[in-house]
């Protein structure tokens, strides 16, 4: 029940932001034109979307198994190492530095960016790239997101890490859940509190920003907007005590890798090379291969 309430509120706020951004950045004419020929557009991006759905479905289905597998078999609790590393490099932890500028207003702004700004920055490019003349940028976006989630999932199995607020509530404060306790319903439904390395909030927002740079000629205004939000999301994860600086750096690196994959590969191409690889493997084993 509480979850439903939080989701509805989120949906209303984010939908309003999306509407505004669509009118200003995409323009009503271009958006309506795109909608009128939605058939071929949808057909063109069905495959990448299906693959993204599979990866997300896999994350959803394994959410009970992954923590167990991670704690008991494959994972290593790297929280103390992350903390010690940052202690050695910076002396004072960057999260503590950010939190020293704390005020209720700043907390409210960062909590807004973390929850609403993040949802907006993730969804808007889907609308914007859908309204372009070709669907290439849309497919790139979907593949880059897929790469983020897939690599992120592997990292979460291998690395158990708690955020600053969970390691040491004396040095670091858990500002988000103090300010908006019910946000926990949302974040806890989507994620475990041990999944902090890398920061998927950072990597997905940065992915959007990097892609915005590549499409700067089509949507010049989207570059500063997504850039501000991406940096804002990265800072908010630290300010709110959810992620370490290390997670943000790793998240940005993951974004770069994902954008590289998204721009240089296509789902069709990947599936084709996988099919060919399997066929040659099958032949080598002396069994009847593919056609």
């Amino acid at each position: 029940m509480a979850l439903v309430g939080v989701v509805i509120e989120l949906a209303v706020v984010v939908a309003t932001m999306l509407l505004g951004a669509t009118l200003v950045i995409v323009g009503p004419r271009q958006f309506v034109d795109a909608l009128s020929e939605f058939r071929w557009r949808v057909r063109a991006c069905t495959l990448p979307l299906a693959v993204l759905a599979v990866v997300l479905g896999l994350r959803w289905m394994t959410q009970d198994v992954v923590p167990r597998l991670s704690w008991r078999v494959l994972g290593h609790n790297v929280t103390p190492q992350i903390f010690s590393l940052e202690q050695t490099v910076f002396g004072t932890n960057p999260v503590a530095v950010l939190q020293s500028y704390q005020s209720p207003e700043i907390t409210a702004v960062f909590a807004f960016i973390y929850l609403y700004g993040y949802a907006f920055v993730l969804i808007f490019p889907f609308i914007a790239y859908f309204a372009l003349e070709k669907m290439d940028d849309f497919s790139t976006l979907v593949l880059a997101f897929t790469a983020n989630y897939a690599i992120g999932l592997v990292c979460y199995v291998l690395f158990i890490a708690y955020g600053p607020r969970n390691l040491d509530p004396v040095l670091f404060e858990g500002l988000l859940y103090d300010a908006v306790p019910r946000a926990y319903y949302l974040t806890n439904t989507v994620n475990e509190n041990t999944n902090v390395f890398p920061s998927l909030h950072t990597s997905l927002s940065m992915t959007v920003f990097f892609l915005a740079w590549h499409t700067r000629e089509k949507y010049p205004l989207w570059v500063p907007v997504s850039g501000t939000l991406a940096v804002g999301v990265a800072l908010s994860t630290m300010y709110l005590g959810i992620h370490w600086f290390t997670d943000v750096v790793a998240g940005t690196a993951l974004a770069a890798v994902s954008v590289y994959i998204g721009r240089n590969y296509t789902i069709d191409g990947l599936l084709e090379s996988a099919r060919r690889f399997l066929a040659t493997q099958a032949e080598r084993l002396g069994q009847p291969g593919g056609k």
Binding site: M1, A2, N166, L167, D168, G174, P181
Partner: protein, 573 residues
């Protein structure tokens, strides 16, 4: 085998080996060309999402250890894994966690006796073994009154110096309730739940279930009363499973037994227990003397003889080790025999909850090395004989209980009926609702979705409670205590001088005033430093520092006196 297959297997092997290497937690050392090693310790503690108080104590300890030149970092570990690694696999350096507390000084025996250091659960997780301590623990078991008190007092003084673990403070159970319920303290026992159930329904809540907020998601799925990986479900299990005798505010009260007669035997003692007439399990099967005998057998060996060596249940272990034998002498009579002649010690065994033979006997199978089904199964449809029975549960959301109307204590006119069950119930059933975290529990309370919060609220939420409309704060002192436990199986921590110094590195007064917001009491006397909340006095201990920060000169010279040395400000063994 084909080359690719061999490569695959080698890869799997390499991954497995590196994963295993990563799993072992130990004091790791950097031997940088010297013959000695810099001291590094990991402090295992729940993440602050699970227990902010433990997390803060660990933070202060880490800080003060760093002042002492020791590389110490907290290692947040999810509660179930924390219990696994400290209580089952003994894979830790230092642990900061909440101990449920002792109902009697004999509770120290399972915690520290060397004989139990190989067992699971709160059975000597510290790997402590000392003959002097074993002897004293055995002596007090057979003594009574002042003699016993003296033995325990001497033992306490000795243990403060050898420090297998140290208690930090006794937290109050702080919580919140709908103001119209008129509660001042959170209900913690079946009798308190019953009292609330019977006496206190506000008009608009009459005939509806009593709604209690909890945070432990797992409690809707796992209700195994003999496992130790559970937290915060104790009260639910107490509502579901009844013992022969209960301890209430009035002392020992006959519960499922209507008569207990004691006699001394040659060097030991004996209790003849008579069951009440017409008691049944929640599924309608009648509860007989055979179930009582069975419970004792199962707790001693959950494989019921199938395993090569017994696999005892980790819960109730201390009390179970007091029982020498249980035998059925009639359909409703059982004889308990004890090695100890001390009634004040052994009568606690009658407070162990009873388990139905017809449900648990099939679970007595060995499923892994020294692991039985009885210890691992979820028991998500529990059959007990308690005042309440489970009717429904929704995973991760709610657990619904209803009053067990056939319970013998609900009948009128039975002898020695506890007073609190007089009257007509105002509520209909109890519903435990899982909320995401303390903040959302308080919000639900304010919005009228809960009647009270059964779980512990961290003191930092008291401001929110005070501001919330129609909500009152509840608080009650408890026996449970935060402890710092040392794994004596590890090299540096096997040194009692080192443990003793580390045990002084938390400012207990500061912990209570700052981290508990004053809701609790610090451990000061030797008894309290062991977690015994009453009965053992002695000179209180002072923190060598102020405001939570240890005096650097003091701790460094203390460690040097203990045989350690410093290089470039870092402590070396």
């Amino acid at each position: 085998m084909s080359p690719s297959r061999r490569r695959l297997l080698a890869g799997v092997g390499a991954v497995t080996t590196s994963a295993l290497a990563g799993c072992t937690e130990r004091i790791w050392s950097f031997a940088e060309g010297s013959t000695t090693d810099r001291l590094s310790v990991l402090i295992k503690t729940p993440p602050s999402d699970d227990d902010p108080m433990a997390s803060k104590i660990a933070s202060q300890l880490a800080e003060n250890l760093q002042t002492a030149g020791i590389d110490a970092v907290p290692e947040p570990t999810a509660k179930p894994e924390l219990f696994r690694s400290t209580l089952l696999t003994h894979d830790f350096d230092i642990v900061v966690a909440r101990h449920p507390g002792f109902d009697d000084p004999d509770g120290l025996r399972p915690l520290l006796h060397s004989q139990l250091s190989g067992e699971r659960g709160w059975q000597n997780p510290f790997g402590f073994s000392e003959r002097t301590v074993d002897d004293a623990l055995e002596a007090q078991r057979d003594e009574t009154g002042d003699t016993r008190r003296q033995t325990v007092a001497d033992l306490a003084e000795y243990l403060v110096e050898t420090a297998p673990y140290t208690a930090v403070a006794f937290p109050d159970h702080v919580s919140a309730a709908e103001r119209s319920l008129g509660l001042s303290r959170p209900p913690r026992t079946p009798s308190e739940y019953a009292a609330l159930y019977y006496i206190r329904p506000p008009d608009d809540r009459r005939g509806e279930p009593l709604r209690a907020g909890v945070f432990a998601e797992g409690m809707t799925d796992r209700l195994n009363p003999i496992a130790v990986d559970l937290e915060d479900v104790g009260v639910v299990l107490d509502l579901l499973y009844d013992p022969l005798v209960r301890v209430t505010e009035d002392g020992y009260v006959s519960w499922l037994a209507d008569d207990v007669s004691w006699q001394e035997t040659d060097g030991g003692s004996e209790a003849i227990v008579h069951l009440r007439e017409g008691i049944t399990w929640h599924d309608g099967t009648s509860l007989t003397a055979s179930d009582v005998e069975f419970t004792a057998r199962l707790l001693a060996d959950t494989s019921l003889g199938e395993a090569e060596s017994p696999v005892p249940a980790p819960r109730y272990r201390g009390r179970r080790t007091l029982i020498e034998d249980v035998s059925q002498t009639g359909p409703r009579t059982v004889r308990f025999s004890f090695d100890s002649p001390s009634e004040e010690v052994v009568r606690r065994t009658l407070t162990i909850p009873l388990l139905p033979e017809h449900v648990w006997e099939p679970q007595a199978t060995v499923i892994d090395e020294h692991v039985t089904e009885a210890l691992t199964w979820d028991n998500d449809e529990p059959v007990g004989s308690g005042l309440f029975a489970v009717t429904d549960s929704t995973s991760g959301e709610r657990l619904e209980l209803e009053a067990f109307e056939d319970h013998v204590l609900f009948e009128d006119g039975i002898p020695d009926r506890p007073d609190l069950l007089e009257g007509t119930p105002g509520f209909d059933g109890i519903e435990f609702r899982v909320t995401a975290n303390p903040g959302s529990a308080v919000e639900s309370l304010e919005e009228g979705e809960l009647d009270f919060v059964a779980a512990w609220l961290p003191p930092s939420y008291l401001d929110v409670v005070e501001e919330a409309e129609g909500v009152s704060m509840l608080s009650v002192s408890t026996r449970s205590f935060y402890l710092i436990g040392f794994n004596a199986r590890n090299e540096a921590l096997s040194n009692y001088r080192f443990r003793r110094i580390v045990s002084r590195l938390v400012d207990r007064e500061y912990v209570v005033s700052e981290f508990f917001d004053g809701h609790g009491s610090p451990a000061r006397t030797p008894g309290e430093l062991l977690g015994l909340s009453e009965g053992v006095d002695g000179s209180p201990e002072e923190f060598p520092g102020s405001q939570g920060d240890v005096d650097e000169a003091w701790v460094r010279s203390a460690l040097e006196d203990a045989g350690f040395h410093y290089e470039n400000g870092d402590l070396f063994v």
